[in-house]
């Protein structure tokens, strides 16, 4: 620490909010320094290699390298892939499972489904707990939570002895109907803790109060499987930060795009499973609030994947319908934790183009990754990627590739595109256009999944596109979907980090409880709500967060009796009299009809609650960009020819993004280039810069 460079960022007169994101290849740091006297805000970024298996080393490394004084950071939001990596690489701990008598095989039986339906060589996903470590206890609850047979704990000592003997390091407990009444699970949990205080143990009700025993078992098992690893990681990270003088608040980014404390996250680390990807969507919602756009289709295009999510009325959608490793080829594993409702496809700048046996062009999902990377990197990559196609078409400036840091190897690009063009019977330019069009089409389909497929018309939304590749494709995608407006946020390549710094402390509670919606059932629903809210308040107050800082939003999950899928509708505050119940039912019919195109004259049933509790924890204050009076002409670079695929080749005006100022505007064809990203403005588009430096593209 004494080695810290004293000339760096010295500013007690400034607030420093930092975000770190541990990715597969790099650990990124972004921090925002807000100068109190000038109100000016600077964005600084740094990178270090990700350091598996001790990911905290990379985080500490990037902090040191950035020159930031750790002691001056006011808050640090941290996104990490430590959980998803441990699962993906099967590097969790040996886990034992305790279930209700007759259900130890639930984890292996799963749901019996086989998505790859013509394939007789399908292999079912292997359970995370082998059968000899799946044990049962006697005792049974009924669906309403009442006790059918009392719990018998007399076999537990022998089970625990076996687990010790076998080298088990974590135990998951999942008993039938514990979502309705956790009493049996609690008793087993306590007993295990008494018998074996050192072992890591989790019961399903601590994570979720939703029904479906396989899904809950899978959730508890995966949580137990990563718990010791995540705990160790978080302990080392916060310890290492403290040792280096960090005195600010450390928050961990959650899958529901909120943040939470290290202590709370350590209890149930599985909530970090989508830590990171979610923050960009939260950022898009916050940005929407800032610029007056409450309906947003948010799209994050990175190197390997593209992710999108729909934001309606300023609210990010959170669900607990989440699986890992699920695809057309595999059933995957469910995890019932609140996750932002997103669609992710293997489509990014590094996605590899290929031609199948029948002359069809495909792009992705294989990616060239960071090594060897696109052919243009000149690091031995021989496969053509979307980035290579964009270079070949002049959409990316070959002389300013990666902000001028890498010299684009155009010979490699041609060599990589050659075989694709040959297979398609096209020339190289046509092949490159094809790659861009197919990539765009894949992303359009993903955007349709989150909009049209759920009854939303994309034309009612603004496309907010970010990530390194967002600006490259956004205008074309919007045109394809008939959308009128695109916004590319300032510093789009690190927008997720901005989102992290805009996050609230947020917890989502999903609770299954069947209640009929008879006019006199308001009190029952109100009581259930009370129970959920009180539970949350107790939890927060135990952590020293005052009730005044917490705000709640509450939704009922309703459905037609006997249907499976429920629709969420907001529950109004106050007494739920007969009239309020009727209003609730009416809003269900409306929401249902929007999603499914019809409504039924059938009884409506209340299936459960979704309660969102959030508390502000000191956000980044967005600041307006200074206007120096620079002329638009001074931001320009030499024109060049850009191939707009289906719209032909145009001479485009080229602008330096960093020099653009609020109030500037210009028409397409144009390209805006910054160090981290390229924004392609199509003929007929009009671009304006808003007060915060975001780029608004209006389509004709």
């Amino acid at each position: 620490m004494t080695k810290m460079n004293n000339e760096q960022v010295a500013a007690s007169a400034a607030t420093i909010r930092a975000a770190t994101d541990v990715g597969g290849t790099f650990t990124d740091l972004v921090y925002f320094v807000t100068d109190h006297s000038t109100g000016e805000q600077r964005v600084v970024t740094a990178k270090a290699n990700t350091t598996p298996p001790d990911f905290e080393r990379g985080v500490l490394e990037v902090l040191m390298r950035s020159g930031i004084r750790i002691g001056e950071i006011n808050s640090l939001a941290h996104g990490t892939t430590v959980v998803i990596n441990a699962i993906a690489e099967r590097k969790g701990v040996l886990t034992g499972l305790i279930t209700t008598r007759g259900f130890r095989d639930s984890l292996e039986i799963a749901r019996g489904n086989r998505p790859d339906f013509f394939n007789l060589h399908y292999v079912k996903p292997e359970p995370f707990v082998p059968r000899y470590l799946r044990r049962e206890v006697e005792g049974r609850l009924a669906q309403d939570g009442s006790e059918r047979w009392p719990l018998q704990l007399d076999e537990l000592p022998a089970i625990i002895d076996d687990f010790r003997h076998e080298g088990v390091q974590a135990i998951a407990i999942c008993l039938l109907h514990s979502y309705a009444n956790p009493a049996h699970e609690r008793a087993v949990l306590e007993h295990v803790r008494n018998l074996w205080p050192e072992v890591s143990v989790v019961a399903s009700h601590q994570i979720t109060r939703e029904w479906r025993e396989y899904e809950r078992t899978s959730t508890a098992v995966l949580s137990a499987y990563v718990q010791p690893i995540a705990e160790r990681y978080l302990t080392r990270l916060s310890g290492g930060m403290r040792e280096r003088g960090f005195g600010g608040q450390l928050y961990i980014v959650q899958s529901n795009c909120g943040v939470d404390s290290v202590e709370k996250t350590s209890e149930v680390p599985i909530t970090m499973v989508e830590s990171g990807p979610a923050s960009g969507f939260w950022g898009a919602a916050e940005l929407g609030r800032l610029i007056g756009e409450s309906n947003v289709l948010a799209l994050d295009i990175g190197g390997t994947t593209a992710k999108c999510s729909l934001i309606e009325g300023g609210q990010v959608k959170i669900t607990s319908d989440y699986w890992i490793e699920r695809s057309r080829l595999s059933a995957g594993y469910p995890i019932l934790v609140p996750v932002v409702d997103l669609v992710e496809i293997g489509q990014g700048g590094g996605s590899i183009a290929w031609v199948d046996d029948f002359g069809k062009l495909h792009v992705g999902p294989q990616s060239a990754g960071a090594l060897p990377g696109p052919a243009a990197y000149g690091r031995g990559g021989t496969a053509a990627t979307t980035t290579d196609a964009n270079l070949a078409l002049g959409r990316i400036d070959r002389d300013y590739f990666c902000g001028g840091e890498i010299e684009a190897d155009m010979d490699s690009v041609e060599r990589a595109l050659g075989p694709i063009a040959g297979r398609l019977g096209l020339d190289i330019t046509e092949a490159a256009r094809g790659i861009v069009r197919i990539a765009n089409n894949n992303m359009v389909n993903a955007l349709k999944l989150v909009s049209l497929n759920r009854g939303y018309d994309p034309r009612d939304f603004t496309l907010v596109a970010f990530g390194g590749g967002g600006g490259m494709h956004a205008a074309a995608l919007a045109a394809e979907l008939g959308m009128r407006k695109v916004v590319i946020p300032r510093a789009a390549e690190v927008f997720s980090a901005w989102g992290m710094l805009m996050s609230d402390l947020r917890r989502d509670y999903f609770i299954t409880r069947l209640v009929s919606l008879a006019p006199d059932q308001g009190a029952a629903i109100r009581a259930l709500l009370r129970e959920a809210v009180d539970g949350a308040l107790t939890q927060f107050s135990d952590e020293g967060i005052e009730p005044e800082r917490i705000s709640f939003r509450q939704y009922g999950r309703l459905r037609y009796e006997n249907q499976e899928h429920s629709v969420e509708v907001p529950i109004p505050d106050g007494q739920l009299h007969a009239v309020a119940i009727k209003d609730l039912i009416d809003s269900f019919h409306q929401a249902y009809e929007r999603e499914y195109t019809y409504r039924l004259d059938a009884p409506v049933e209340f299936v459960g609650l979704h309660v969102v509790a959030s508390a502000e924890v000191g956000k980044l204050e967005p600041t307006r960009l200074a206007v120096t009076g620079r002329s638009l002409e001074d931001t320009r670079r030499p024109n060049r020819l850009v191939d707009y695929a289906t719209e032909g080749i145009h001479e485009a005006a080229i602008y330096t993004g960093e020099l653009l100022e609020p109030g500037m505007s210009f028409p397409g064809p144009a390209v805006v280039e910054t160090k981290g990203t390229t924004v392609v403005v199509h003929p007929g588009n009009e671009l304006t810069v808003d007060d915060y430096g975001n780029l608004h593209i209006t389509l004709s």
């Binding site: 639930s106 019996g112 339906f117 013509f118 059968r131 195109t597 059938a602």
Partner: protein, 554 residues
């Protein structure tokens, strides 16, 4: 961009992708909106887009055996109503095997002609299993039926919505003929909504790329599909392969498969006369069994189209069990269809290297339980297939507890949901402890599933196969075990069934469902010793079995 010029290969690929997505979106809509668990959880449903003439273009997920049902339905509607009579906004229904329904009366097809202006450009269609369409038994399925009239309401490709106007009389007839009219109404509207989703997506493509481009994309997809199928067929050994196999009821089914010149010919002409009971399979249904086997063998992923299926010829004899007269009972067709499918695989497996695994439990194990819900007093009906063990391959053990190979992304019902919905207790759902399926690679385990009945006056109907003749092994592996049901009466008696109709049950009785282990591949004595020990540790193989069958002393 507009229309006529835009037929470069990239555009055609994008349109084809759009048609595929439209089929899938239709399926998602159907599943999300359906009222019955058999549709939204069991996924006894399918969706497809056909060209104007009814040739299959793309299909959604669901049950793979439904993919080529919908083209038959469309063709039948076209033949009956005439293309000129169709109008935008029309919706048709069919469920009768003699009218393009292919399967049984419970499976109802909703088909919607898609018009761009005045021109027919495609059809959006879907099919789903309705819980009850009338007939002699609840659920419309009875092992006692001897003619189709006892199996419910026949819908001979009728119009349901006329140019956007619902024909109320037809809706009234439908409702009046079901024991569960509210379920029927919900499921019917789910089908209509789904077809309209398909329509919208197709029209989006027409608007974006022009009608000619969409037509060209369709033709190209089908041509490519045919090319692919023939290409894969050429890699197979040629010859004529024959097999006869005794079924549980004593009937002997035969098949001869000829593979030559990129053709796949399935000859079923020597099979027995049609059945007195409900196990007849329509000729269209027999064709689907052969299509399924073909798709498995040529190793295709995802969706099938008309082109993939062109190399197939199926020969049947009118009046036989695989080509019965139109009024033959057929509600249990599905066990005959999976029997035929399994027969074709068994016939070819020994000749195709490692392309096909050993025999699976090979039964739908359709289970119907109904009665009064003890908590709500309302009537409940379970209609569900069961999961079971799959056969081993030459490199892997078989999967345990999957739905049959003719199912796909089908989900079983969680015990926690079932207990509330049906008012039964699920006492256990475990992997089967039965012997069977040993091998160098062993078969997957079937299941044991216990339902405790909670009210008097309930009933049980089922018809399983591979109860007497277990799943077939390969290369000196062992056969699998058996599919059957035990009823453990409150007074201690135990009854065993492979088929029964409306068996009365009382509160306290236990229904114990056993499904078979799949068959093994290779001599069990050659199984890797470490794997046998692992199996013993995990309780997949008993100590005695390890010793006696695997020759592995511990």
């Amino acid at each position: 961009m507009n229309s006529e010029a835009a037929t470069d290969p990239i555009t055609l690929d994008i349109i084809a992708g759009g048609l595929q997505a439209a089929g899938e979106q239709m399926f998602v809509a159907l599943r999300r909106a359906a009222m019955s668990a058999i549709i939204y959880e069991v996924l006894d449903a399918g969706s497809a887009i056909t060209d104007p003439a009814g040739d299959l273009v793309s299909s959604g997920a669901g049950i793979p055996t439904f993919v080529a049902v919908l083209d038959r339905a469309v063709k039948c509607i076209l033949a009956l109503h005439g293309r000129e009579e169709l109008r935008p906004g029309d919706v048709f229904l069919t469920n009768d095997p003699a009218y393009g329904g292919v399967t049984h009366l419970n499976d109802v097809v909703v088909a919607l002609p898609v018009f761009a202006g005045t021109e027919l450009v495609a059809w959006a269609a879907n099919i789903a299993h309705w819980n009850d369409v009338g007939g002699m038994a609840p659920g419309s399925i009875s092992t006692d039926a001897i003619e189709i009239f006892q199996e419910g309401l026949r819908l001979p490709a009728v119009k349901l919505i006329d140019a956007g106007r619902p024909l109320r009389s037809v809706f009234d007839i439908l409702r009046a003929n079901s024991r569960l009219p509210d379920f029927l109404t919900g499921d019917l509207w789910a089908g209509i909504a789904a077809a309209r989703v398909g329509e919208r997506r197709i029209l989006d493509l027409v608007q974006r790329y022009g009608q000619r481009a969409v037509e060209r994309a369709i033709d190209r997809e089908i041509a490519t599909g045919e090319q692919l199928a023939r290409h894969r067929l050429r890699a197979l050994p040629t010859g004529r392969f024959e097999l006869e196999e005794e079924q549980d009821g004593g009937a002997v089914f035969t098949v001869a498969v000829e593979i030559r010149d990129a053709e796949f010919i399935v000859d079923l002409r020597t099979n027995p006369d049609q059945d007195e009971g409900p196990t007849n399979l329509s000729r269209d249904g027999a064709t689907i069994a052969a299509q399924m086997a073909l798709m498995n063998i040529i190793g295709l992923q995802g969706s099938a189209n008309a082109g993939h299926l062109r190399p197939l010829t199926v020969l049947t004899r009118p009046g036989s069990v695989f080509d019965p007269t139109p009024t033959a009972a057929c509600s249990l067709y599905y066990e005959t269809r999976i029997a035929l499918y399994d027969l074709i695989l068994r016939c070819l497996a020994p000749h195709l290297g490692d392309r096909l695994p050993a025999g699976s439990f090979a039964s739908i194990c359709g289970t119907y339980i109904g009665g009064r819900h003890p908590d709500t007093g309302r009537h409940f009906t379970i209609v569900e297939p069961e999961i079971g063990g799959w056969g081993a391959s030459q490199s892997h053990d078989g999967n345990s507890a999957l739905f049959s190979p003719v199912h796909g992304d089908t989900f079983n019902c969680p015990a926690e949901v079932a207990e509330g919905r049906y008012g039964l207790y699920v006492e256990q759902l475990a992997l089967s402890g039965a012997c069977g399926g040993a091998g160098e690679y062993r078969g997957g385990r079937g299941i044991t599933l216990d339902y405790r009945v909670r009210s008097d006056g309930c009933f049980l109907t089922l018809a399983y196969r591979r109860s007497e003749h277990p799943p077939w092994p390969l290369l000196r592996g062992e056969p699998g075990s058996s599919n059957y049901v035990e009823v453990l009466r409150r007074d201690g008696r135990t009854e065993r069934y492979r088929a029964v109709t409306t068996l009365p049950l009382s509160a306290g009785d236990l229904i114990r469902i056993h499904t078979a282990n799949g068959a093994g591949v290779g001599d069990p004595r050659r199984r890797d010793r470490a794997r046998v020990l692992e199996d013993v540790r995990n309780g997949y193989v008993s100590t005695a079995e390890a010793q006696e069958v695997y020759g592995c002393t511990l």
